[in-house]
């Protein structure tokens, strides 16, 4: 009931790096893309609709989503990429600097979810991807604000699924760890943002309700280690299934 419309994506934090690469990868897949960042200087000759807004400011975000709604249609995909990673000794953090990191990495994602969810709820479908890390499992030195806020963002993802998953299974919500390590530098095995964005764009177009709540690491579903006993039981009961992969990369 209701025809298929062209998807409309909102990508936050579209500075150079993963956000910008996601904009391109989504646009190549026929998605109408809006990208939002607090910095308006570097955006010419990009595909899609550029919006200058501060994700930590709820009114800004609402205004931005209203503009997307008017110019492209209601956002059907939200990719929360915006983040900051201050390298700061916890002894040098102030209450203000620490909470500013939380306000952007966690609060910004919440503000965007809050702004797009009414339309998604009305449609009974939508797509939310939170770009996260494993920083919460083993916080690195100099990364307290980042690790805490990104860890909390993973909890936000699970809370969204807890509150919405049953009522609106068509709103598909995931954590994605792209493996780009951006904006952290000096890490040898970081994935090129342009490559990660191809996986991310495929993930954004994956709308099967079964996918909701899964964690994706790079190009593949990530499952924490399951005991051999559980794996055997699942195998016997026919419940085991292959990991979901994010598919081939379009050239």
């Amino acid at each position: 009931m209701g025809g298929e419309k062209q998807p409309v994506a909102l990508v936050t934090g579209s500075g150079p790096g993963l956000g910008r690469a996601m904009v391109h990868a989504l646009a190549r897949r026929g998605v109408l893309v809006a990208y939002m960042s607090s910095d308006s200087t570097n955006g010419e000759s990009e595909p899609g609709l550029q919006i200058t807004a501060d994700v930590t400011n709820p009114q800004d975000v609402v205004r931005a989503v209203d503009e997307i709604h008017d110019r492209l249609g209601a956002p059907t995909i939200l990719v929360n990429t915006a983040e900051v990673h201050p390298d700061r000794d916890i002894l040098d953090e102030t209450p203000t600097s620490f909470m500013a990191t939380v306000a952007l990495n966690l609060g910004g994602a919440f503000n965007c979810c809050h702004a797009v969810l009414p339309d998604m709820v009305e449609a009974g479908k939508g797509r939310i991807i939170n770009v996260v890390t494993f920083a919460d499992l083993a916080p690195a030195p100099m990364a307290s604000g980042y690790s805490v806020s990104k860890g909390a963002l993973r909890i936000l993802t699970r809370s969204l699924v807890a509150d919405l998953g049953d009522r609106f299974p068509g709103i598909v919500i995931n954590d994605w760890i792209p493996g780009t390590h951006a904006p952290r530098r000096n890490i040898a095995d970081g994935v090129e943002p342009s490559l990660a964005a191809e996986w991310g764009a495929n993930l954004a177009l994956m709308d099967a309700p079964e996918v909701s709540g899964m964690v994706f690491l790079r190009d593949c579903e990530y499952r924490p280690n399951v005991s051999l006993r559980h794996r055997l039981k699942d195998r016997l009961l026919g419940k085991s299934r292959a990991l979901v992969r994010l598919g081939q990369i379009s050239s």
Binding site: M1, V62, D66, H114, P118, D166, R167, P169
Partner: protein
């Protein structure tokens, strides 16, 4: 207005309770399930100013929430549209247990979660029929008097299906949707066994994109229930209003009338008033509300007979797994089939057999095996549960998936089976229920005849103990002609109170052999017509 704050529900006609409290309504309808929803719709369409008072939330129209036992948290259940509080029950004299009955709370009540089975009762369910005396001497309103309302209810609820080949009654006006290959085979096999299956009667509009929302909320006005066929069309008339998240706590009686109700919204009390009160909170909670309204009578409102809460009935559910013949595919989870070959057997009142929307895979069969008496007895030995799982797995490997049929067995009223007031928790109904010998005997007959007719080798009776269907409570405010042995009169007006009417399953003096929804809807329309006629007369006199 910001688009982000756009209203996301089609039910936008809500009124703050404080505004609703400022006026006297023509009718207040307590509860918006099948009974309240359809009564309110008819009243609003006949021009009465109607206020729906709903305990649960409005929710969102696009929800497809499925009914589950979990979570147990009050606020979470309220959000999901499940009745938030548990019931306490003492069954067959055992220990008192606390559990969640399969009840909805929210616009549409339990009906938004139902499987939309709207089957007609048989004449003998209501009337004394030649050679088949009714256990109560017959309902105060006859089958023939209900006929026009059964028909109207079928129309409003878009009931579709086939006529029962064993009945003289005609079937629904709307045709059933086409069958799948495996379902056709199921019909053929049952016919080969000499049975008379027919296309189950369902309240679905089967709009394009219909996802058969059985057991869950339907995101379109496709499944017809207390919300889509009751509250929503009522609000469209402009004569009805809804207050949600509003709990009715007490009815107040003044000189033979309900003068006010005390309700609670967000922790604050309000008083509402109406010329007529339509009580439709369900057969477990309507009597609880009356019993708890003790301002004038210690025994509760409308209870001079002492029958409020008594005569409680549930259907017995008999689950039967049936495997297809070798080479035939399993029909799986299908609600397509009903049959009435065992509706009565040698003078015994039994009931309808219908296919259930459950696929009997290994897990389902194992769960039932584990509950069987034998396995429970030896269950303390380690590994028995796993043995059941393995047995079920092997069975599934060999026979494929079964189709589950569910038989309803009619329950009959007993004075001692009842809902009473919980001594500590006014929100929880206290259920006391004993299985009568007479019911156990009919159950034995049912199981024997089912096994005989369906074949011993491809069927498995899944429940060894009698299983009460807590979603089919009825009888707790029975209607009758004798004010000393019934709560309501033939109009479903309380004998004791001139402006209190009841339109949920409480009114039924016997539980019938079919799912109760169609009868609830038909009676709600009938009672609403009676209320509207009185309202018209009062208006004419006033002029």
């Amino acid at each position: 207005m910001s688009r982000s704050r756009a209203r996301v529900s089609s039910l936008t006609e809500t009124t703050p309770v404080a505004i609703a409290a400022l006026r006297n309504w023509d009718a207040i309808v307590i509860g918006t399930g099948m009974g309240g929803g359809l009564a309110g719709r008819r009243l609003a369409e006949r021009g009465l100013a109607v206020l729906f008072v709903e305990k649960g939330p409005i929710g969102y129209r696009s929800e497809i929430q499925r009914f589950k036992d979990e979570p147990s948290d009050y606020a979470a259940r309220q959000m999901l549209g499940f009745w938030p509080a548990p019931v306490e029950a003492r069954i067959a004299g055992g220990r008192t247990t606390q559990f969640f009955a399969p009840l909805g709370s929210g616009v549409g009540g339990s009906s938004v979660f139902y499987a939309a089975a709207l089957e007609r009762p048989e004449r003998h369910d209501l009337d004394n029929v030649d050679g088949f005396a009714h256990p109560t001497g017959g309902w105060p309103v006859s089958y023939d008097a209900f006929q026009p309302y059964l028909k109207q209810a079928s129309e409003l609820l878009s009931v579709r299906g086939e006529a029962d080949p064993l009945s003289v009654e005609s079937g629904p006006d709307l045709p059933a949707p086409p069958l799948k290959e495996a379902e056709l085979k199921l019909f053929a096999e049952l016919r080969q066994a000499g049975l008379h299956p027919y296309r189950a009667h369902e309240a679905m509009r089967r709009l394009p994109g219909c996802e058969e929302c059985l057991g869950r909320k339907c995101p379109y006005p496709c499944k017809m229930d207390g919300r889509s066929a009751g509250v929503e069309p009522a609000l469209q008339t402009g004569n009805a209003t809804l207050v949600a998240n509003c709990t009715v706590e007490e009815l107040f009686e003044t000189s033979g009338r309900i003068s006010n109700l005390r309700v609670r919204v967000d922790g604050r009390e309000h008083m509402l008033s109406a010329t007529t009160i339509v009580l439709a909170a369900g057969a477990l909670h309507s009597p609880r509300l009356l019993l708890g309204s003790q301002a004038v009578h210690r025994e509760g409102c409308a209870n001079s007979s002492g029958w409020v809460g008594r005569g409680l009935m549930f259907h017995l559910n008999e689950l039967i797994a049936i495997w297809p013949k070798r080479g035939n595919p399993s029909a799986g989870a299908t609600r397509c089939m009903s049959l009435r070959d065992f509706y009565t057997y040698r003078g015994n009142r039994l009931g309808l057999l219908q296919s259930m929307g459950v696929k009997a895979d290994a897990g389902v069969i194992a769960a039932h095996l584990k509950r069987s008496t034998f396995l429970r007895a030896i269950g303390r030995f380690p590994g028995v549960g796993k043995l059941a799982t393995m047995t079920a797995l092997l069975a599934a490997k060999f026979f494929g998936n079964a189709t589950v049929l569910v038989g309803l067995i009619e329950d009959l009223p007993r004075y001692d089976n009842r809902v009473s007031l919980h001594p500590n928790d006014p929100d929880s109904p206290l259920i006391e229920y004993q299985f009568s010998h007479e019911l156990k005997r009919r159950r034995t007959v049912f199981r024997r005849v089912v096994r005989k007719k369906l074949g011993r080798f491809r069927t498995l009776l899944l429940n060894s103990r009698p299983e009460l269907n807590f979603g089919h409570a009825s009888g707790t405010l029975r209607f009758g002609t004798d004010p000393s042995a019934s709560v309501l009169d033939a109009d479903c007006q309380a004998h004791d109170l001139e402006n209190l009417f009841v339109t949920d399953a409480s009114f039924m003096p016997t539980s019938m052999g079919v799912n109760p929804s169609l009868m609830i809807a038909a009676n709600a329309l009938r009672v609403a017509d009676i209320i509207a006629a009185r309202h018209d007369i009062a208006l004419r006199i006033a002029r």
